[in-house]
């Protein structure tokens, strides 16, 4: 839990176990890595570039969290989402 405290109130990217990427402001965490995101959106990867889907407030169960990344706002602003073409991320297979 202490490990994630430094990311609180910041823009984070959560990669989920089923292969989705969700970006939002980190509002809450607990010891099982349950995560509350505010003002979040999903980035859907496909051959036509990245589609952004607004989601609002989301609680993601800890079991479903794979990676939490601290988003560098400067770098993120420079991204041209339409030009990034990639396959959807693979799900976690245990």
């Amino acid at each position: 839990m202490a490990m994630l405290e430094s990311y609180l109130k910041k823009q984070v990217l959560v990669l989920t176990a089923d292969g989705r990427s969700i970006i939002g402001t980190l509002r809450g965490i607990d010891q099982t890595i349950n995560v509350v995101l505010e003002k979040c959106h999903e980035r859907v990867y496909s051959e036509e570039g990245i589609e952004v889907i607004p989601l609002g407030v989301h609680l993601i169960k800890g079991d479903d969290v794979a990676v939490i990344g601290e988003v560098d706002d400067e770098l993120d602003k420079k991204l041209n989402l339409k030009e990034i073409i990639a396959e959807p991320m693979k799900p976690i297979v245990h």
């Binding site: 490990m3 990217l13 990867y45 794979a66 601290e70 770098l75 991204l79 976690i92 297979v93």
Partner: protein, 117 residues
């Protein structure tokens, strides 16, 4: 607990974490906890063109349960010591289990004697 201490000795070193979704992330080990959750600094995803999902991320937290492999710098790992400590821990665990079973069986016999009385 052994590997938790082992990872703690590698803080500050560059490691590559391969996840169970085939993503490989290289970065400096910042911290680790008892679940072997890992925090990395200054990360780079291997094959970034193919996996651009974390382009704007510099620092990240990886849940221990999604880690498949951790690639470590060979020069920072003392394999012999690690092996010794692993054996030691395994031996202690065995001893504890044996003690536990002996305790169990002794309480069971006292229970049966008390019923016969």
């Amino acid at each position: 607990m052994l590997f938790f201490s082992f990872y703690k000795s590698l803080v500050g070193k560059e490691i590559t974490v391969e996840l169970k979704n085939d993503l490989s992330i290289t970065g400096l080990l910042q911290s680790v906890d008892q679940f072997l959750n890992i925090k990395l600094k200054d990360i780079k995803v291997n094959e970034e063109d193919k996996y651009p999902y974390m382009i704007s991320v510099k620092n990240c937290f990886i849940r221990g349960s999604v880690v498949r492999y951790v690639h470590l710098p060979a020069e920072d790992v003392d394999v012999e010591t690690l092996q010794d400590h692993s054996r030691l821990e395994a031996r202690e665990q065995k001893k504890q289990n044996k003690q536990h079973q002996e305790q169990k069986s002794s309480t069971a016999t006292t229970a049966t004697t008390s019923t016969t009385v």
